[in-house]
């Protein structure tokens, strides 16, 4: 299709990859944190809760800058990870990290709400039947939380598709490596007359996100139907 140039297609592919990874890699810790916030009492719970929300409150540039300081090759964590061959700086994985962190509060909130809606009586029933806490979680809580996980995942995906401020600050914009759709769009908007080009990219971005959205609605409806017992 000649709608987009090769660079732009690259940005589309990269954005998809970044958003998918940001969402998928965010899910396990997201579920864990959501569960902890929903069901456990522990010291520092409010601190954890605050931390999770931080990317929402901070201007993205600040988040990006903080990421640069910690996960950059010279940052404390970044340096350690580099030893074992994991690099975030100027790499698409860094874009995924930034997008994932920006999307994390949305993911956690949705999952947490769903976990809170699971009737503890069902979890108790699982426990009396011999399931340990972990098993109860895996066989009762988690399946009943699926709609929330799906909702959280789609929010996170959409957010990751649109994230730009933290990403560009952290990993900048290297075509083919870290140039995602939103940074390409941003670039077009900086120059007079770039609106039309920006619009094409916006359309692509919206189309992808809408497809994901519709998919998630279909899945979620199927889950709801099964539980309602049709």
């Amino acid at each position: 299709m000649s709608l987009l140039g090769p660079d732009e297609w690259q940005a589309v592919a990269l954005s998809l990859r970044v958003a998918l990874w940001a969402t998928l890699a965010g899910l396990p810790p997201g579920i864990l944190v959501a569960y902890a916030l929903a069901r456990w009492e522990f010291p520092g719970k409010q601190v954890l809760n605050g931390l999770v929300h931080l990317p929402l409150i901070l201007p993205p540039v600040v988040t990006g800058y903080l990421l640069l300081l910690t996960f950059g090759t010279r940052g404390p964590i970044g340096a350690a990870l580099k030893e074992i061959g994991i690099v975030f700086a100027f790499h698409w994985t860094g874009a995924a990290l930034a997008a994932g962190i920006m999307a994390f509060p949305l993911l956690v909130r949705a999952i947490r709400l769903s976990i809170e809606a699971v009737d503890p009586k069902l979890e108790q029933a699982g426990a009396t039947l011999g399931a340990s806490r972990l098993w109860v979680f895996a066989t009762v809580t988690l399946p009943l939380t699926l709609p929330g996980i799906l909702a959280g995942a789609i929010l996170a995906f959409a957010k990751a598709m649109g994230e730009f401020g933290a990403t560009i600050t952290f990993v900048s914009n290297i075509p083919g490596q870290t140039q995602t759709l939103p940074s390409a769009i941003y670039a077009f908007l900086q120059v007079p007359g770039g609106e039309a080009s920006a619009l094409r990219l916006v359309a692509v971005s919206v189309a992808i996100a809408m497809a994901a959205l519709i998919l998630s609605e279909v899945l979620s409806r199927r889950i709801a139907k099964r539980v309602a017992g049709a």
Binding site: I168, S172, T178, A187, V191, P192, G194
Partner: protein
């Protein structure tokens, strides 16, 4: 339609904030009139002026946007002046790095090795555009292009070098000037890129009585001193 008569509203590129804060404070002290400054990216400000923003003056970091407004008939052409100038420098993270002369012989690729050259967006942001033009003029672009990490603005590019993420970067002299954790290796020759100017103009619809006074004040000695302290070249008499 402009703001109310007792004050002047200036839309200014965010990079002149420090100097402008000082200038507006002095202006208020001296005249009793207030000047409000809205700092944002030049593109955002220009679009807002297109949409009817209550701005009296516009200081753009990008002459292109001023051209656009002029073409749209939104500014008072007669008042357009190139207020400030700036220059491009090559900076390094390494505090020990020695000064180099920036010519076509500069071994940029070797200096970078596996690492990146931090710049602002080379197609979109003025500092990036000027930087790319300069590298092209010096015949260094092809060697440097694959290594360029483009930030969304000069400050972000500076931050990449300041944190050491990128060993080298190309930024405005004004930015390098105030950042202690980078070392200026050298300035790009002025003829390697189009002159870096910050035009100012009065908005056509502005009805502020203070606007002209403030425009004049911007070109006065107090403003000149403030701008120069930040490393700008003042282009007006």
């Amino acid at each position: 339609s402009g703001a109310c008569a007792e004050q002047v509203t200036v839309f200014a590129a965010a990079s002149v904030k420090t100097a402008m804060d000082e200038i507006t404070a002095r202006f208020t002290e001296e005249t009793g009139e207030t000047a409000r400054v809205s700092f944002a990216g030049s593109s955002a400000l220009a679009r807002q002026i297109q949409a009817g923003a209550p701005a009296d003056l516009f200081i753009s970091a990008n002459p292109g946007w001023m051209d656009t407004l002029e073409a749209d008939g939104l500014i008072d052409d007669a008042t357009r002046t190139d207020l400030l100038g700036n220059s491009l420098v090559l900076i390094a993270h390494d505090p020990e790095a020695g000064a180099v002369e920036i010519t076509s012989d500069l071994p940029l690729a070797d200096m970078l090795g596996e690492d990146h050259l931090a710049m602002a967006l080379v197609e979109a942001v003025p500092a990036g555009i000027y930087g790319k033009a300069a590298l092209e003029a010096l015949g260094l672009w092809n060697a440097g292009a694959p290594k360029v990490a483009q930030a969304d603005n000069v400050r972000a590019a500076l931050a990449l070098v300041a944190t050491g993420e990128a060993p080298l970067g190309i930024v405005y002299a004004t930015d390098a000037h105030a950042e202690p954790s980078v070392t200026v290796l050298g300035s790009f020759p002025e003829d390697s890129h189009a002159p870096i100017t910050y035009p100012v103009a009065r908005i056509r619809d502005s009805d502020s009585a203070v606007a002209d006074a403030f425009l004049a004040y911007l070109q006065g000695p107090v403003a000149r001193a403030a701008f120069e302290r930040q490393g700008f070249t003042v282009l007006t008499e």
